[in-house]
Amino acid sequence: MEPDQLKNWLSLLLTIAWLLPLGGFALEIFAGFWSTRLKKTAAYIAVGCIGAGFVCSLTALCSWGMHTGYWAEHDYLTKFFQETPLGGDHAPADGHAADGHHGSEHDAHHDEHSAHGAEHGAHGHEHDESKYPTVFAGRYYQLAEFGSLQLEIGYYIDSLTLVMFTMVTLIATCIHVFAIGYMSDELTEDYVDHFVHVGEGHLHRPGRFYRFFAFLSLFSFSMLGLVIAGNVFMVFIFWELVGICSYLLIGFYTERKSASTAANKAFIVNRVGDFGFLIGLMILWTSFGTFAFSEPSAEKAAENPGLFQMLRDDHGQMTVEIADDGSHQVVLTGPEGTHKTIPYYLLVAAGIGIFCGCVGKSAQFPLQTWLPDAMEGPTPVSALVHSATMVAAGVYLVGRFYPMFTPEVLVTIAYIGAITLFMAATIAVVATDIKRVLAYSTISQLGYMMLSLGVGGWVAGLLHLITHAFFKSLMFLCSGSVIHGCHHEQEMPKMGGLRKKMPITAYTMLIGVIAITGLAIPGTYFGFQFAMSGYHSKDAIVATSLAYWGLNDQHVLLFILPLAGAGITAFYMFRLWFYTFAGEPRDQHIHDHAHESPAVMWVPLVILSFFAIFCAYDGEQGPLWGLLVHSEPAGMDHGFDPAAPGQIAVPGHHHVHEKMSGDATVHDVAGRYALAVAIAGAILAYLFYGARLLNPADVRRQVAGLHEFLVEKWRFDELYDAMFVKPVHVISGWIAALDRVVIDGFLHGTSKAAVDVSTWDRRFDEQVIDGLVNWVGDRTFRVGRSLRFVQTGRLRQYVMFIAGGLFGVLMLVYILTL
């Protein structure tokens, strides 16, 4: 296939995948108003659309791989069957980890093409371009054009887009299928909502099965639009659209006050982030005059360069000058090689602004509060929107927009990520609602991704995005299955021992838990590394942050916090699993009525758990990593030296693979730490909640008992309780309180202030402005009325007025003559 043909083919496939759910949405909405509200037609349409989308996406991915020669270069399949013993520490020292064994070959290509003076885009993969382009951009239609400024709906397809498409459609398909089962109780004309009390009983309403699927389809469309977007403005558009879909889905149970409030909160908090986003866009638009990411075609790029091309050269470097007044200026390369400069701080501000949007969307500190509340939505929504896809959009955007971020912005991102991941993890420890634990966990994991991107682990962060999507959606679906099985009971203290009642759910959940905690068996056996996807991604993140610390001494927290977070994660995730599935039932009634979910619900679980295990197969040598590296921004492989004005270095791949102590590379060291911490956490959880050996309550009960001293374990228990559990509880309590009181308080305060201001505003309006107008009117009226009294009706007075008037006019003449 010619490049143009491939471009058309890919864009066609992805467009179909993108638009199918939209068509589905329209059909389903109308279907609901026709006669099929009690049938599953809507669900089948939705599943059909998204499923077809998945097929298209996968086809696109494969086509891309085949026709760009990517598969040929990275023959993963062969490699898999060769069973080459591989460790985690083989990365070539030249930093091209992704290229694996073909690195040297690649470099040869690279050099050759460089010698021919081929044009380079902003992305690292551009060295393939002269051979066969791997990035495709184009436009669907123009939104508007103002002189030299153009805005369009377009697409930008690289391996990241394709991977995201495949991931989103795959997960969405699974969740759609799952939802057929989960939402089936809506298939009635008389749905009883036990959470809403009306008058004397519960609310009865017609079921809204079709509407749920319509919203899901609309969401899928929006999310895919966000991914395929060819420019950041289009991202913003779909950013808002996913927001509104999220609003609709969270508030799906419109009758529940809590649901609609949570939906409002989600949208408004997101809008706060979008406010920053908008400011970022304003700066970029005004400074750069374009929103396009990057223009792959060299000829077109010369005319209309994208943002990345304007800011950075082929090697990912930007030019910073110091102006006469000592301020830093960034030199931009405009169309036809023209140059202009903008202040450096503007670029930083733009980056922070865009990141604000990501903070909102990805529920990062300090805007994380909406996500736990968003669990008001049906569980499939939580799985799809609030764990796998939409909340990851923030991370995706940071990744996509990476070249625009200066190191100062990146370090901000990293800190936000670090704070978020730690805070959310500690909160998750004390949560008892199963979905809330997962929600906090999601926030925490998103924090990891942000951190990773912030410290330069571009691939690691996005890899974690993918892996997390799989295992987190898996876990959400499992929790959904539990909730479904336990008749909408979400409190873990009422569960326990469900493993026997719902084995498939339990064990798929366990897979998810292991995946997220990053447990693995070190080393390779039989050519396999016994590690699930989460291990690889989290490993890479921690490794990068360690490397970052190595380059920037002061940023030690950026390593400590994720490391600690890994342990806490393990603790609370296993706590969740043990709480729910292990041991004896705590509430016999619930346990008795619990049942395994039907196949339509557990089959997706199995599929997802497969991907939760294997999607990041082989870590840094694996296909997913390779695909992502292919889209990595230029210069990331080498890292960035400290540069003005922040003097912050960003590690490249080789930094991660440098020797640190002995033979162990940075990566190895970090991996060991992380694994150790995770295992510790897991064990701790087991001791508390699995084996229930260390029950703080028991300990307390037996403090006065004589046997206390005999059972040394319990002292440990108490010690642990005092040393770890309690402080963790307390701290997380504090942080939860901080969250609740300070940040929520701040938000409430703000909204209250807003209400106050608006009341005041209204009063101002009614009293001052209207008052003024009314006052003037009133005055005039009064003057008019008082003039009435001049007309006394007395004739003699009138005559007097003739004389008076004469005199008055004469005076007027006199005055005017003066």
Binding site: F33, Y141, Q142, L143, A144, E145, F146, G147, S148, L149, D193, V196, H197, V198, L203, R205, F236, I237, F238, E240, L241, I244, Y247, G251, T254, E255, R256, K257, S260, T261, A263, N264, F267, I268, R271, V272, D274, F275, L278, I279, L281, M282, I283, W285, T286, G289, S751, A754, V755, V757, S758, T759, D761, R762, D765, I769, D770, V773, G777
Partner: protein, 529 residues
């Protein structure tokens, strides 16, 4: 029909002729009169579509110009024409009028008078958008006062008299200011071979210094600009001239609210674009900062005020204040530095955004008012705290309403988004601070719209009076709402459909005005110093 004078005159006077014919109808034949009036608006709409059909998108100049002497002694002509700035508004007017007429079926009191006034109003609105003679423009502008006064005053709510007179006074006051400017231009344009004139196009040229021997000096332009601006700002309305709007809206019957929000407010923006800026570029330039400030302040102020309302219609009215703030903001972002325009493309974008906002707001606000009207017709109250649960009771209506409210919220993919986004994006070039203030509007807008949706449509049950009266919407209401929603979506998805129409004209306008400053004319700013 392709003769411009016939077509344009037909568009303007078709409703008036309809009104004349209606006056001989029997008072009792209400249904017949309604149908006849509807046919009149449909005919007008079709005529505007014909106009659209022969309009050349590529020609930035005034098209289909006609000029017939009216009062020769004063050089007043019956001069009409259409360009990319007026055409979208003409189409909007005839469309909204048509829909409002369909919505007028709920009017049962003195139907004949209502329909006649309604049609006269439409004539006035179309005349304003098509007139190219300032005198004629002024005549049409004022002509609308009478029908509007009675439409609010007779068919309005409890405080209709207050609202009607307030509306009348404000607008008349604005008209008086405009009148002064009109005279200033007329006498200032003496000289040259034509002599004093009301020809807007010629006045524009004079104002832009393109006619040798005649010019409006900086001081004249500043004074005239402010007179015009206040006159138009009252109509827009911006703070602090906005307080007539909530009252007028609250009291006006639903179809009139639709017209008021959908079309009348746009005339203010149109006046600024057609008259104030092009004729007084120097005055406009000197005033730009204040204008942008007013725009940004209106956005925030209107949003806050909306949030505090408990009356559904009043809330929507204040949202209009907020939304129209974007129009002023977008129009005024004319940055000049060292005597030349900086980033005229951004200004162009702001202008286009403002124009789009007018169209988009025309659709969305008309829709919002209609939606309020639909529920008001049933339960006869508008207290936001006494709604709830409508989603369950009237699912179709609620679905459409939520869609239209989302358009008002500025959701991408719906018509409210582009205007807001583009004006705000263009504002940074002018003033980052004000741009940020304006952008903050997105949060507040989301706040009050979502809160409203929650209070009205969501929730378990309806809490207010007359629950028994809540019936699903009928076909007529459905068709109006659906039409508006379809337009909201269409404009939202393919904004180029509107931008394409007006691009050439706005670009020309921006270029001309930029050149005015660039060409080193005496800069009004000098006078201030």
């Amino acid at each position: 029909m392709n003769d411009p004078i016939i077509l344009l005159s037909a568009i303007i006077f078709a409703p008036a002729v309809g009104a004349l014919i209606l006056s001989v109808f029997n008072k009792e034949a209400e249904e017949g009169m309604r149908v006849f009036a509807l046919i009149t608006t449909v005919v007008t709409f079709v005529l505007t579509l014909m106009l659209w059909n022969i309009f050349d998108y590529q020609d930035p100049q005034m098209q289909l110009q006609v000029s017939v002497p009216w009062i020769k002694a004063w050089n007043i002509n019956y001069q009409l024409g259409v360009d990319g700035i007026s055409l979208p508004l003409v189409l909007l007017t005839s469309l909204i009028s048509l829909l409002a007429m369909v919505a007028s079926w709920s009017i049962t009191k003195q139907v004949k008078g209502y329909l006649i006034l309604f049609l006269l109003l439409e004539t006035g609105m179309l005349g304003v958008f098509l007139a190219l003679d300032f005198f004629l423009f002024y005549v049409f502008w004022e002509v609308m006062l009478l029908p509007m006064y009675f439409l609010i005053g007779i068919w309005g709510g409890p405080r209709k008299e207050y609202a009607a007179i307030k509306f009348f006074l404000y607008t008349l006051f604005g008209g008086v200011l405009m009148f002064i400017a009109l005279l200033m231009f007329y006498f200032g344009s003496a000289g040259g071979e034509v002599g004093s004139t009301f020809d807007i196009l010629r006045l524009q040229k004079i104002g832009q210094g393109l006619i040798p021997g005649v010019e409006f000096d900086g001081m004249t332009q500043m004074i005239a600009f402010w007179l015009l601006f206040v006159g138009f700002a009252i109509k827009v309305p911006t703070i602090p001239f906005h307080t007539w709007l909530p009252d007028a809206h609250v009291e006006a019957p639903t179809p009139i609210s639709m017209i008021l929000a959908g079309v009348l407010l746009k005339m203010g923006g149109y006046g600024i674009l057609r008259i104030a800026f092009p004729i007084c570029p120097q005055g406009a330039q000197a005033a730009a900062y204040v204008l942008v400030l007013i725009g940004a302040a209106s956005i925030i102020y209107g949003a806050f005020a909306a949030m505090a309302q408990t009356d559904f219609k009043r809330l929507v009215a204040y949202s209009s204040v907020s939304h129209m703030g974007y129009v002023i903001l977008g129009i005024a972002v004319w940055k000049v530095s060292d005597g030349s325009t900086v980033g005229s493309d951004y200004w162009n974008m702001g202008m286009n955004g403002a124009m789009f906002q007018m169209i988009g707001h025309g659709i969305s606000s008309a829709g919002m008012f209609f939606m309020v009207g639909v529920i008001y017709d049933r339960v006869h109250h508008r207290d936001l705290n006494k709604f709830g649960g409508l989603m369950g009771l009237m699912p179709l209506y609620s679905g459409l309403a939520v869609g239209i409210f989302f358009a008002g919220l500025g959701l991408p993919g719906l018509c409210g988004f582009w205007g807001e986004a583009f004006t705000v994006l263009s504002a940074w070039n002018y003033s980052p601070i004000l741009a940020i203030i304006a952008a903050a509007g997105v949060i507040l807008t989301a706040g009050y719209i979502l809160w409203t949706i929650q209070r009205v449509y969501l929730g378990p049950e309806y809490k207010g009076p007359h629950p028994e009266a809540i019936t699903p919407i009928n076909m007529r209401e459905f068709s109006v709402a659906l039409t508006l929603l379809i337009f909201a979506i269409a404009f939202g998805i393919y904004p180029e459909s509107v931008f394409g129409m007006m691009r050439e004209s706005t670009t020309l306008l921006v270029t001309n005005l930029s050149n005015t400053v660039n060409s080193g004319l005496e800069f009004a700013g000098n006078i201030i110093q």
